[in-house]
Amino acid sequence: MTTPTDALDPVRAELLRTARASADAVLGRARADAQKVLAEAREAAEAVLARARELGAADGADAAGRERTRAVQDAWAAELAARAEAYAELRARIREGVRRALARGAVPQDRLAAAARALLGPQARVTGAAGGGVTAEVPGRRVDLSADTLADRALNRLGARAETLWGPP
């Protein structure tokens, strides 16, 4: 017994074929779209990566620049600190030298007292200063000719010549 043929079979077959063709087309388009999206994504990723590399390089260069500046600054700060130390040492030695000189009478105490009286008048009360030299006073005025003050004044007068401590003479 033969299976009766359905008159709609060709229609079904045609519909199936059209549907498959359509599905294939949709699939093809989807694949093409996917390829395109993928390519675009790859391109975008490449661009992002390139930009990131650029930014990274710039950041790196910045950081290196900052580090270099910091190093130069630190070196300069250390040099300044050393200069300050040398200057303080010079001051201490000058004070010590003036004290020693006054102690051994390089400038007689009388001459300092006379210098003080010349500034303040004969009625000035002159007293010896600790460490050498004198101070003199009248009410409202005072003159300091102590060893340390004389030494500091001499150092101030030295001015830029003190720079020979750390620079070429």
Binding site: D62, G65, T69, Q73, L80, R142, R157, A160, E163
Partner: protein, 464 residues
Amino acid sequence: MSGPADIEYTGVRELRGPLVVVEGVSGVGWDEFATIGLDSGERRHGLVLEVDRDLAVVQVLEDTAGMDRSGTRVAFSGSPLRIPVGPGWLGRVCDGRGEPADGGPPVLGGAFAAVGGAPVNPVHREPPTEPVLTGVGAVDVLTTLVRGQKLPVFSAAGLPHLELAVQIAAQATCGGEPFAVVFAGMGLTHADAAFVRDGLAERSAARDLVLFLNTADDPVIERLLTPRLALTVAEDLAFTRGRHVLVVMTDMTAYSEALREVSAARGEIPARRAYPGYLYSDLASLYERCGRIRGRPGSVTVLPVLTMPAGDITHPVPDLTGYITEGQIVLSAEAYGAGTYPPVDPLASLSRLMRKGTGAGRTRADHPAVAAQLIAALARSRQVRELADLIGRQALSPTDLGHLDLEDAFRARFLAQDTRENRPLEEALDRAWEVLLTLPDSQLGMLPADLLAAHRHPRGEAPP
């Protein structure tokens, strides 16, 4: 600093706020510098504010805290403050009265100069001719700073004037010639002072910079000395050592407020907004110390920065500054609000000496024309914007619409710049061209036709 004089006065009649009233003095003059010794061995410094017979009023720079009448000795130097000058200042960071703040020894110099200085004799002035390039496109192209010029920055609270001042101080150059920057910060907060130190670290490390930092909590009298110290150091670096020196002074409003405070302490009659009547001449005594001197190398260029209280350009400080200086760079709150840095308002800004420092052989041959055309186009752009507010954008002609878009292009392509970007003049001018070429040729009548054609169709490209 000047050394202590021989006679010390011990008759302190009164200690009042920052003032010491000394009695029994003789031969003491107004503005004389004084050294104050304390029993503890500490030394402070002061300036004579007032002398009347045997009384002298001394304002103590470090304040009178911890002083007592019996243990205070005041020695007068016999002259206003003098400081050592020389290259020893380069690379140093000092407080507002020139004392080292960087851990180094005192700044030493081969010669001394009075900080009061003297303005340049007008007969000996050389006219400015060369630019100082700042690396800030808006300044270099539109308000070019010229060597020997005084060009203030007018700003308002909340605007990035300190960032701009630091950027200019960090980047400025004089075409490879010996150059130095002296930065005088006045009334800065500690955060701002740290920002300035960090921003200028590189220049300081290169020994091209002298930094004076007077902070907001430092005594006001010191603030009056800070710009004078800066200018004295700058004058020596320029006219004796042959460097071109840029002096950045910020904030001149803080300086003027210090002047007002000291004036009140002196009991002077107040003038406009309680500033002393001599505010104009005092500001001029600072600004006029810039310039070039015939027969001497170097130049002193001054860039004062001032904040206009409540943005008021008629306030005495910007008002009087404007009378003395040669133009101004105005910062705009509106541009800053739109997120633009530096928020320079091109239409309110002007460098009166720009013509003398730009063009062929100085900057670039097309510079003056490009700057003039850009300003003209922006002025038209602003008019069109006002028109559009009235009649609506759709009623504008295509040319007007082009102008309307020009301002956005100007801000985005030309004005906007990173605070650390040192933009070469060539690039800044090319960006100006880029903005201008968004307009049709018919709207660019201030540019020579051949120049316009060369930029419209570069590299021999044929016109369509």
